[in-house]
């Protein structure tokens, strides 16, 4: 295997594994910047994964190639609806954010598996027939070497994720709306005093995390697992949560952290195909992503500080 082939294998598997994390961690960034801690990302991803697979299985024959893309939207919408539970509980009903988020994580897998059993009469679904396929960047794919590594046969949802990251970063830090959203996470009393609708902003934050978490779960299900079962989403939501904290609650940071996790994960998965790496005992390859994360965090980042009012209920006084 020559170097270019190795690099392009590594790059393509990195971005496939990163994409679900990017979407989901971006959702977390929005929720927590509005002041609502969201550890329910795992549950939201599960609902997104389940609904996109069901949609894909049902409509693949009539919709054809566009099916997985609509599946993403369906996953996002279902995730959004599911996250309403968290929004209502934390924003209106004064629930503890951690407990409410845990409810999402507890609720989603049994609900999804129950529905699978009720609809398909078995514990897991069939494999989907329509997947994302590969995408060549027009123009850029023709650049020698770099084009071959980065832009040929790439995973299109990854590019969508990167574009979404930039847009969300711009909204959060460069627009009036973003400032207001962040002010609700830093100091809701002050935001309310100057006329910001704290409850409204927090709804936007949580529902964005529902939409993006659902899309993240849908990407994972449609691109990586190919079907839905109880073991489809096991820990990816927590990895996204970690990516969000690693990225210091910033969209760009969350994306970079997700890419790092995706890279580390793909090294451990395709490591046996790579020269040099194939002599390392597999246990080190399996542990490496997680150990390296801790080490990097300790060495270079130190304290990561959440938005000041993250996780605190804001109860508007009458």
């Amino acid at each position: 295997m020559d170097l270019v082939a190795i690099l392009s294998l590594l790059v393509s598997s990195t971005i496939v594994y990163s994409t679900p994390l990017i979407f989901t961690s971006l959702g977390g960034v929005y929720s927590e910047n509005s002041g609502i801690t969201n550890i329910g990302l795992e549950g939201i991803m599960t609902m997104g994964a389940f609904s996109s697979i069901m949609f894909n299985l049902t409509f693949a024959s009539s919709l054809g190639k566009i099916t997985p893309w609509i599946g993403l939207i369906v996953g996002g919408i279902v995730g959004l609806i599911f996250s309403l539970l968290h929004a209502v509980a934390t924003i209106n009903f004064h629930a503890d954010h951690v407990i409410s988020g845990t409810v999402l994580n507890l609720m989603a897998p049994p609900l999804a598996v129950f529905l699978v059993k009720a609809i398909y009469d078995k514990g897991q679904t069939e494999n989907i027939s329509q997947s994302f396929g590969y995408f060549n960047f027009p123009g850029l794919a023709d650049i020698p070497v770099i084009g071959q590594i980065l832009f040929q046969n790439t995973f299109a949802p990854a590019w969508v994720a990167i574009i979404v990251t930039i847009i969300l970063w711009w909204i959060l830090y460069k627009t009036r709306f973003g400032l207001r959203l962040r002010s609700c996470g830093e100091n809701p009393q002050a935001a309310d005093t100057v006329g910001v609708n704290v409850y409204g902003m927090r709804y936007v934050g949580v529902l964005t995390s529902g939409l993006l978490g659902g899309i993240g779960g849908a990407v994972f299900a449609e691109a990586i697992s190919g079907n839905f079962s109880i073991s489809t989403i096991v820990g990816q939501g927590f990895m996204a949560l970690a990516a969000m904290i690693f990225g210091k609650w910033n969209p760009l940071g969350a994306m970079l952290a997700s890419l790092f996790f995706g890279f580390a994960q793909s090294i451990s998965i395709i490591g046996n195909q790579l020269p040099l790496f194939n002599h390392i005992p597999s246990v080190y390859m399996q542990i490496a992503p997680y150990a390296i994360t801790i080490i990097i965090l300790v060495l270079f980042f130190g304290k990561s500080v959440a938005p000041a009012a993250d996780g605190q209920n804001y109860i508007k006084s009458k």
Partner: protein, 358 residues
């Protein structure tokens, strides 16, 4: 609107939350045309209707009491210990290994040794996260999530590659432990219809009392709670934040490790390869949240949780209703407990004591 004292209000709100959770399950069953009465009656009759069922329910609750206390200790110090599965797993493998490696040691030495070693293993795993937090301010949510995976794969490696082959049946399962290291008590087993109930429940009850005493009656507990409530105030009063961070995580991991010990030396009598994070860790988190972090709350929540889990198995075989309903009911109950503010609006508290629930 009813006028009640705060204590009765708390009780009523909790009862309504539990009933509402069952109602959610019933509605979902009705939508998919299952019979909720049949479901719930088969659930309760199989969890509590015979001695074997009761024994299994108690057995199910045993490790959850430990992991829930583990979560609650860290939680009162202001930490979110999401690493319970890894800490419990470390305790499980350690205790089994020690018992298997010392087949001739007398029981009065071996059992305490294995139990304590399991607790130490759990404490060690959690201690890493605590130490990093105290020393470098590293976020414990990330480190404990990462440690779960590290422990998961390390245990796989240790068991399959490092453990002497003579202690294993095959690559995925160890031998069954000898009587010398087992928490099984024959009269208890036969009393509860040959179920897997074991002495772990007595340890768990001791742990509940110890947890209550530690948090409410000792200086250590007071400092942990103070630092959790307000680290600045704690430091101003001369408490070491760093020391309390590490201490609370060590205690938390120790309890979680014991959860793994009773699972190993009590329930399964061996260790077998795990491919995902241990359930008792995640369930312990739910039990702690459901029990509101208090000693008695954790005990009752663990029992309720186990009735549902064990009863759910019976419901699936007797009434043919998917087991998942049980987990949905549990999640719904916790949801209603979380929004108790709203349920509390149904009742007026008597004016003499003003208690703000939040």
């Amino acid at each position: 609107m009813l006028k009640v004292t705060p204590r009765i209000k708390k009780f009523l709100v909790l009862t309504i939350s539990i009933l509402a959770g069952f109602l959610v399950g019933a509605v979902i069953m009705l939508i998919w045309s299952y019979n909720p009465f049949e479901a719930y009656s088969s659930m309760f009759s199989s969890a509590l209707g015979n001695m074997n069922g009761i024994g299994e329910t108690i057995r199910e609750a045993t490790p959850l009491i430990f992991t829930a206390i583990g979560f609650a200790v860290a939680s009162s110090a202001g930490f979110f210990n999401i690493g319970l599965p890894g800490q419990a797993q470390a305790g499980w493998l350690t205790s089994i290994w020690i018992v298997l490696a010392n087949p001739n040691m007398p029981k009065f030495l071996l059992l305490p040794l294995a139990t304590i070693a399991g607790a130490v293993a759990g404490a060690f795993v959690a201690g890493i996260a605590g130490w990093l937090r105290a020393q470098f301010g590293t976020n414990e949510v990330i480190t404990t999530i990462m440690l779960n995976y590290i422990v998961l794969y390390s245990c796989q490696y240790l068991m399959q590659q490092v453990m002497p082959g003579g202690l294993r049946i095959d690559t995925d399962t160890t031998k069954t432990i000898s009587q010398n290291g087992s928490l099984k008590i024959s009269w208890l087993t036969s009393m509860f219809g040959e179920s897997r109930i074991n002495a772990g429940i007595f340890l768990a009850l001791v742990a509940v009392v110890a947890y209550w005493y530690l948090m409410k009656k000792t200086t250590i507990g007071f400092e942990i709670r103070s630092v959790g409530a307000n680290p600045y105030a704690g430091r101003y009063a001369g408490m070491s934040t760093k020391k309390n961070i590490v201490l609370s995580m060590l205690l938390s991991g120790g309890f979680a490790g014991l959860g793994g010990v009773v699972q190993g030396l009590g329930t399964y009598q061996n260790y077998f390869n795990q491919t995902t994070s241990l359930d008792i860790g995640w369930d312990g988190l739910s039990v702690a949240l459901l029990g509101g972090g208090t000693a008695i709350g954790i005990l009752l929540a663990a029992i309720l949780f186990s009735i549902l889990k064990i009863g759910g198995l019976g419901m699936q075989t007797i009434a043919g209703i998917p087991y998942e309903i049980v987990s949905i009911v549990i999640a719904a109950i916790i949801f209603f407990v979380a929004i108790q503010y709203v349920i509390g609006l149904l009742f007026k508290t008597k004016p003499q004591t003003v208690v703000d629930e939040n």
